[in-house]
């Protein structure tokens, strides 16, 4: 996965999981990190630097929006644009996986 230069045509793996975290509920930063840790079984340990940058970028690109500020804690929710980009990325990954499986079968 490569970082898109202008828009978010392709998401990095961490970006993909950050969007996934918001599908069911609104979250703050530490919730997102806990979700990804649990979902990837500790394979991806989200750091504050990466997450802070991604949240800021997603907010500026309109994929996430702030819902609540409690003290210094901010909670975000996914937007329709965020869901659409997530769905497109899932579809792209699904096609990649199908191609890989097809290639593996023909190789056998």
């Amino acid at each position: 996965m490569a970082l898109a230069k202008k828009s978010l045509e392709i998401l990095t793996e961490t970006m993909f999981y950050v969007l996934m975290a918001f599908l069911k509920t609104d979250m703050c930063g530490t919730d997102v990190a806990a979700f990804i840790d649990q979902k990837t079984k500790g394979r991806i340990q989200m750091g504050p630097g990466t997450l802070y940058t991604i949240l800021a970028k997603f907010q500026s690109e309109g994929l996430l929006e702030e819902t609540e500020i409690q003290g210094r804690k901010r909670t975000y929710r996914i937007t329709d644009r965020g869901r659409r980009i997530y769905a497109e990325e899932v579809e792209r990954l699904r096609r990649c996986l199908l191609d890989a499986e097809e290639e593996a079968h023909t190789a056998l």
Partner: protein, 401 residues
């Protein structure tokens, strides 16, 4: 009372990994960073129990000197405590718990922070290089300075070039970090810093030596290269045409000082100054003055200043000749006056021209490859009528005094 330690790091901002390693090594010895000073990056440490804490340098997102409270809280929620800014480019965070996750887990996302920083640092580096180029251009604008102060010039040149190399080195290093990150390679957090510190210290020492009286010493040594003698005491052949050959009046006398006012008896106005150095093995500056004997007339009746040089190469002879000719042509009190150069047809010379200044002053420039002669004459005779006499000076060889 808390034990405190202040250390200048001299580690450039382009080596965040080396700075992290340095701070972690200090923590292992029980010295914990408290803050970094603005000038010379003075680090303030406090004594504690040695511990394997981690320090991380985060590129500053914009032009602020302190992070937002929200950012500080965000990092703290993950176990990273904000400490201090480092220069204009980084915030330093510390994690005391070894289980705290790394600040970054995605090099491509981390690259974003470095890209902004690389751009800012490149602008800063470019501005510094422009200033250096201006400094380096001064000797080219006034090349005879190189001959008068060869050691000082060489030292200044080397010091400035060293700074230029350091700045370029830093800019290239930052872009290399950015390139590695954007290719998906995580940033290393362990890098030796002693070699970087040594290099930085040497450059700084050179700079301090340059500012301290060492530069005066160089000037002094440069000045010791020259010998000044009264023109009458030298018997060896010298590259000049005596004033008397230009024509002298019975009302004039060529004495070391003004015979009427007897002013400044210690200063001989008919002298030769010989200088030798690696850029110009032989140079002579010859001054001749004749005075009126009539107290009602101006003291100086006629004068001639000659500069003869044998340079290490013809290019140097050319630019020094032009520089001195322009210098001799400048008329005090008349700014913007431009002397008109009239070429002379003289075979065997690479350059030959004559110039008429305001009043009765004239200039002659002759150059034969790496040998150059510039004459400034104020008197009734015409330099053009004596060009052959000056050209003959090139048929002899001279030795420095």
């Amino acid at each position: 009372m808390k034990h405190r330690l202040y250390l200048p790091t001299f580690l450039p901002v382009s080596f965040p990994d080396a700075m992290e390693t340095f701070l972690e090594d200090m923590a292992k010895k029980g010295w914990f960073l408290k803050k970094v000073g603005y000038f010379l990056s003075f680090c303030q440490f406090e004594k504690g129990t040695p511990a394997p804490v981690r320090y991380r340098l985060e590129p500053i997102p914009d032009t602020v000197r302190t992070p937002s409270q929200e950012m500080v809280q965000f990092y703290e929620d993950f176990g990273w405590k904000y400490l201090t800014p480092f220069s204009h480019f980084f915030f330093i965070f510390v994690a005391e718990n070894p289980d705290t996750p790394e600040i970054h887990c995605d090099p491509l996302v981390q690259a974003k922070g470095y890209k902004r920083m690389c751009r800012n640092f490149s602008v800063f580096g470019l501005a510094a290089l422009v200033l250096l180029v201006i400094f380096l251009g001064i000797p080219l604008y006034h090349p005879s300075f190189l001959l008068e102060r060869p050691r000082f010039s060489a030292f200044a040149l080397v010091t400035l070039l060293a700074f230029a190399v350091l700045i370029l080195w830093s800019v290239l290093r930052l872009w290399k970090i950015y390139r590695n990150l954007s290719q998906g390679n995580p940033l290393s957090h362990h890098k030796g810093y002693l070699n970087i510190l040594s290099l930085q210290t040497i450059v700084l020492a050179l700079f301090v030596l340059f500012l301290l009286p060492f530069s005066d010493k160089l000037v002094e040594w440069d000045e010791n290269d020259q010998i000044t003698q009264s023109l009458t005491t030298v018997e060896e052949p010298l590259p000049y045409v005596p004033l008397a050959e230009m024509g002298i009046s019975p009302d004039w006398v060529q004495t070391p000082y003004d015979p009427i006012t007897m002013g400044n008896e210690n200063s001989d106005s008919n002298y030769i100054r010989s200088r030798t150095n690696f850029l110009a093995p032989i140079t002579f500056h010859i001054s001749q003055t004749a005075y009126h004997t009539d107290p009602n007339l101006p003291a100086v009746a006629t004068s001639m200043t000659s500069y003869y040089g044998e340079m290490s190469n013809s290019f140097l002879a050319k630019i020094v000749g032009m520089d001195l000719a322009n210098l001799y042509a400048s008329t005090p009190g008349i700014s913007g006056y431009k002397m008109e150069k009239k070429p002379l047809s003289l075979s065997g010379f690479s350059q030959a021209y004559y110039g008429d200044l305001l009043g009765n002053a004239q200039i002659l420039l002759l150059r034969q490859e790496n040998r150059v002669l510039i004459v400034h004459y104020a008197g009734d005779a015409s330099l053009k009528d004596h060009v052959e006499d000056f050209a003959k000076l090139f048929t002899q060889s001279y030795t420095p005094l």
